[in-house]
Amino acid sequence: MSAEKISPIGRGLLNRRDFMRNTGFALGGLGLADLLSAEDPVNFSGKSSIRPDIDPGNPYAPRPPHFVPAAKQVLVIYCPGAVSHVDTFDYKPQLEKLHGQKPPNIPAVTFEGPSGNIAKPFWEFKPRGQSGKMTSELLPRLGAMADDFCFFHALHTQTSAHPQGENFFNSGFTMEGFPSFGAWTTYALGTENADLPAFVAINDPRGLARSGKNNFGSGFLPASFQGTDFNSRNPPANLNRPVNFTAADDKATVDLLQRLNGRHLERFPGDSNLAARIASYELAGKMQTSVPEVMDISNEPAAIHREYGTDQGSNLKKEYAKNCILARRLIEKGVRVVQLFNGSDPSGGNGITNWDSHSNILKTHAMQAEIMDQPTAALIHDLKRRGLLEDTLVVWATEFGRMPFLQGNGTGRDHNPDAFTCLLSGAGVKKGFSHGESDEFGFKAVKNSTSVYDFNATILHLMGLDHERLTYYHNGLERRLTNVHGHVVKEVLA
């Protein structure tokens, strides 16, 4: 075993053998060997880490989860900009009553400046489905599926700024440089379909979200686990054969390369790094066929296109709908993590390209909703119809919520880090269920308050991973997606 493979902390513990002998500490019946096993490094939680056994020749090989998982795949639908919970899924009748008033306990200043008066929801709420869940007319089609959803109404986060909020939601830290959820998951589990990337990030037609690559980056994990980004329009960078090359040119290059590499390998028999690199060219070749195939949604039936809405509404909606079909096809093919974005950075101005709505929320949220509602509902419904929700977890998320009062008595709502709503659906979670409550205004989480750590711990749990044992040694610590926090929200497990 090379020194690298032993966790430093595991090794540190080994050193402490002497310490225990010297202090004469009685161990009793404790399984010392178990605790001090070099394979079994220890992290902050006091639990031992489970280190995925990654074959450098095939870093994407499927690997066993920590325990029998509820879900084998995960689809994350991420809405940058902060969706207003009080205008969508978190019904607060009190806001109607107090509309235009300014109750005590409302801070004078929030993220962007002075706070204004309470504003009732900008859209009407109605009961939906068997559960009678109250959701708003802003997202009628998603609302209609409330019986399939498990809402988290008492989420809270650590920041009021979008980039840090995205970092925190998607990588567990507000700061730069940490691995994304998708990177952690594929690092742990690999993937079932060797012909497609293990982790695909489908970016919004308008571009990347505020934190850019951080949302699907590998941070300090090996680059193998970064998300491959493409959408229904743009293939991954450099996937295609250069335009002036024929297929025969390409084949000749690859054949020559394999012969060169084959001969070189004879001088280094058994070198797994060289073998891995040879294998990566084979996988790249497969991806050149399999990715365009999965991207080609033209032979999806017309009814599917209609259902997702690729044929009606705004151009942005049509594009997003195509991305939704792509997401379903990727899940169908067994891709481990699909992250679908609905919104980009606000390069077009305040609130124009994502859910951010400091002013004129009526217009900006409505515009986003027009893009998101139908295709997203169709996507989840389609997954359900095909039985894919048996093994797939769907996450719908945003970085924080919006204030129940107006921003400076204008026409929009400021950021609210203390209460917001996200939802889960599919494998392993309760249906038609709501967990946690915000206060009567939707201003702060009050009942079963749920941190982003808890939320991420729960998603990992559903994927068969113990968030306290999924670690990677980095700069002195066995790092985790959930830092040193997080509890699985058992109440939502089916």
Binding site: M1, S2, A3, E4, P8, I9, G12, N15, R16, F19, T23, L30, L35, P56, P59, P107, V109, T110, F111, E112, T159, S160, A161, Q164, T174, M175, E176, G177, F178, P197, N214, G219, L221, A223, S224, F225, A237, N238, L239, N240, P242, F245, D249, A252, T253, R259, L260, N261, H264, F268, N273, R277, A279, S280, A284, D345, S347, H474, N475, G476
Partner: protein
């Protein structure tokens, strides 16, 4: 007893465990002073003596020497990051066969003297501190002129600046005529205060986060400790308390992320050039002075000059109905850089309150000493004759002759490549002053300067034009605001309970960690510069047990592919133990106080020379023919490894003959000019403008360069001791299909034909250019077939993608 309880003992939570654990921690190997171990018996390189003893103990036989071609490729890449040129390979092979040792030593000296040495080793250093040219965070703005720090690092390695001096300059270069060196302290990402919103808690948190980035940089790179782990509570594994963390943060309390004019010694070329240019500025001003007031455009601000006058108050009346001004400064003929308008000097400011729409943009913004987006914004009511004005009342009469005014100086001086370059959100204005007698008089009007004076006097117009040119020249060539950190007045530092700025506890004095004898005899009253200078003394003291060990380990890592301590940024209890502790200590001792003739203390080049002269470095990398492979850490062979992104890109450009190998200067840019809140987009990662060594590619946080990011190019978010080496299909796609790869394959083929003619000679040349060797008969035949049927460029494409090209032999 449950498992958790058991662990609580390890973590020092049990009273009995606490004492024992503390003792154990204090005894930790890396916290002991370096003592020079006795060299093992035998002749030859001390490196081999230590390695040999271990190999003998483990009964591992070693490989024979590498062939000359592998050796020149290996040592060239390790020392300069560039593969050797074919002619040099040929000469070396000849010399080596005649007199191997002499040929090799000459080659090593040549490579150490090459200016490309500094580029290669600067790259490693920049990795260590995750240096980049954007903020990360909101808007991910570009850091203007951050690259002067990169130049400093390259220059330092090339000059073989003693490492202790290099460290001192990076901590306190402002006191040593090397102001550019403090770019080190602000290498990490940061969240600008202006982007975290209006809540005071968020602003405090952002400052604490920025301090933490500085702490991580210093702790990891210089000390090899994970000091960040003590930010919220005592370190779980090392004897570093939360008090240690905040006491050490007090050392850096005067640092803020931002720009300043770097302090240069008088010999610095930029300093000399600026003296010339300022002389010319003075000349032009003398011309203007004779005929009345004048206005100068310095890009980031405008300056209005007028005859010295005594004033108790100044009124500025604007002509445009709306203005946006981040700062208004007033200077006198005495202390020319003393801003008399500052609120902190007692100057009061007032303006038309009814014209301010947003409470964030009150008139007090113009004399608060802060540049940037937080500005005074006033707008006159529609159809009103009223115009915005500002009134400054000094606390006593002042002699004044100059007024400097800007809209967003921060954006101008600190960032670049934005579509909306901040101009001036004001047009003409008039200045009146109130004398001691209470009477007001007009001293200048910008409209009159333009229309009444400049237009009528060609000599004035020419002087104004010349001044504008000089302002630009100074910005390009003189010391100018560069992203190497700015200084603020240090506040009293307190322990932040659980890491929260909302829970300040006891005051701590600036010091280094207690376990490392870190008392610096400083108080909260000492200046920031003094704090940093004392800390620099402490960290470079030969008694400091970490500094030399940590750097030697880095050098070893980059020479042999893995450190003696594999966790190069963590020498604590959670880090790895050294594979060869005595070797590490011997090298550290030798680094600080060389015992060999001709060696200089703290010389990085001397230590690298020592390592690459060893037999261990010169061994063949061939694997064991059969049986179990011994651990590479024993160095029974030279462990082969994949070369980094930079070496691949630079090597391809060198092979095609397109590499512009000039040293230093501005980065080449692969991204667009963007809107403030947009993401950067890569627009050209392959054109002629990018044909420089990749160390000069703008390091952009959060940006995938669409080719080399996939090769584990660091994202510069978190400090990392080493780059992971991963193998992914995206690497294959990028190196096969990217425009860069395709075009360069063409250029290499073209060059081969030009230099060697058609046919087999051209194929042979391609092998030389890319692999430093001749093809064998089978290879030649296969390549001739591909070249004949498809084109020589496809042969080059295959060679560029080959394992032989991508691995260090």
């Amino acid at each position: 007893m449950n498992r958790l309880y058991f662990f609580s003992l390890f973590l020092g939570l049990h009273p009995m465990g606490l004492v024992a654990a503390e003792q154990e921690a204090a005894d930790h190997w890396s916290f002991q002073m370096v003592k020079r171990p006795v060299l093992p018996e035998g002749q030859g390189n001390p490196v081999d003596a230590f390695l040999g003893r271990r190999l003998q103990q483990e009964a591992v036989p070693v490989n024979g020497p590498a062939d000359s071609r592998s050796l020149i490729r290996r040592v060239s890449v390790v020392l300069t990051g560039l593969p050797p040129q074919p002619a040099r390979v040929k000469a070396f092979e000849r010399e080596f066969s005649a007199e191997a040792d002499k040929a090799y030593m000459a080659l090593v000296d040549e490579l150490l003297a090459s200016p490309h040495f500094g580029e290669r080793w600067a790259q490693h250093w920049l990795d260590t501190i995750r240096w980049a040219e954007t903020n990360g965070s909101e808007s991910n703005l570009y850091r203007k002129l951050a690259w002067v720090y990169r130049d400093y690092v390259i220059r330092s390695f090339n000059e073989d600046k003693p490492y202790d001096h290099f460290v001192r300059e990076q901590l306190a270069g402002d006191a040593m005529g090397a102001g550019d060196a403090t770019g080190f302290l602000v290498a990490g990402p940061h969240v600008p205060a202006a982007t975290v919103g209006q809540q005071a808690t968020a602003i405090r948190q952002a400052r604490a986060d920025r301090m933490d980035e500085i702490m991580q940089t210093v702790g990891a790179s210089l000390m090899g400790i994970t000091i960040g782990c003590a930010r919220c509570h005592d370190h779980k594994f090392d004897p570093l308390s939360i008090e240690d963390y905040y006491a050490m943060s007090a050392v850096f309390q005067d640092i803020e992320f931002g720009s300043r004019n770097p302090e240069f010694s008088d010999e610095h070329p930029r300093k000399k050039r600026s003296a010339e240019l300022w002389g010319q500025v003075a000349g032009q001003r003398r011309i203007l002075q004779q005929t009345g007031p004048w206005q100068e455009d310095w890009g980031g601000y405008r300056e209005l000059h007028f005859s010295p006058v005594d004033a108790v108050a100044v009124r500025i009346s604007f002509k445009s109905p709306s203005v946006g001004i981040d700062e208004l400064e007033v200077f006198g003929p005495g202390k020319v850089n003393l801003n008399l308008a500052l609120a902190s000097r007692g100057t009061k400011v007032s303006g038309p309150e009814e014209m301010v729409q947003d409470g964030r943009n009150r008139i007090t913004r113009i004399n608060d000493g802060e540049y940037g987006t937080m500005a005074w914004r006033a707008r006159a009511p529609n159809k009103s004759e009223e115009r915005p004005w500002a009134l400054l009342n000094f606390d006593r009469a002042q002699r004044i002759n100059r007024l400097r005014i800007s809209s967003n100086r921060e954006y101008y001086f600190e960032t670049d490549y934005l579509t909306t370059k901040p101009g001036f959100s004001f047009t003409n204005f008039e200045v009146e002053v109130q004398g001691k007698d209470g009477k007001w008089k007009k001293v200048a009007s910008t409209w009159w300067i333009e229309n009444g004076l400049n237009k009528k006097q060609p000599a004035r117009a020419a002087a104004v034009k010349k001044l504008k040119q000089l302002a630009y020249a100074l910005a390009e060539e003189g010391p100018r605001p560069s992203f190497v950190g700015r200084f603020i007045k240090p506040k009293i530092t307190r322990v932040l309970h659980r890491g929260s700025p909302e829970n300040p506890a006891q005051e701590v004095m600036p010091s280094a960690p207690e376990i490392l004898s870190g008392d610096l005899s400083l108080t909260s009253a000492n200046s920031g510069r003094k704090r940093r200078s004392r800390f620099a003394d402490w960290v470079t003291d030969p008694k400091n047990p970490l500094t030399a060990r940590v750097m030697i380990n880095r050098i070893w890592h980059h020479v042999f592919g893995a450190g003696i301590v594999v966790t190069g940024n963590d020498f604590g209890a959670a880090g790895a133990l050294p594979t060869h502790p005595e070797l590490l200590d011997w090298l550290a001792a030798e680094f600080m106080k060389p015992g060999r003739g001709n060696s200089r203390a703290w010389s990085v080049k001397d230590m690298i020379r020592l390592l690459v002269h060893s037999d261990a470095f010169k061994r063949s990398s061939a694997p064991r023919a059969q049986g179990l492979q011994p651990d590479d850490a024993l160095l029974w062979r030279y462990p082969p490894r994949r070369i980094e992104a930079e070496v691949i890109r630079d090597g391809i450009l060198q092979a095609s003959g397109r590499l512009d190998d000039s040293i230093g200067g501005r980065s080449y840019r692969i991204h667009n000019v963007k809107k403030t809140y947009a993401q950067w987009q890569v627009v050209d990662n392959h054109g002629p403008g990018t044909w420089r060594r990749m160390i000069y590619q703008e390091r952009m946080r959060r940006v995938d360069d669409r080719i080399f990011t996939a090769f584990d190019f660091p994202d510069c978010g978190q400090v990392r001791a080493k780059r992971p080496v991963s193998t992914t299909p995206l690497q294959a796609l990028n190196l096969m299909n990217s425009p860069f790869a395709v075009e360069q394959a063409d250029y290499i083929a073209e060059r081969a034909r030009r230099e060697s003619g058609e046919g087999e000679a051209a194929v042979r040349r391609c092998f030389q250019l890319l692999l430093c060797r001749r093809p064998n008969a089978d290879e030649l035949r296969e390549c001739m077939q591909v070249a004949g049927e498809h084109g020589l460029n496809f042969v080059c494409r295959a060679l560029m993608n080959s394992n032989e090209f991508a691995f260090l032999p």
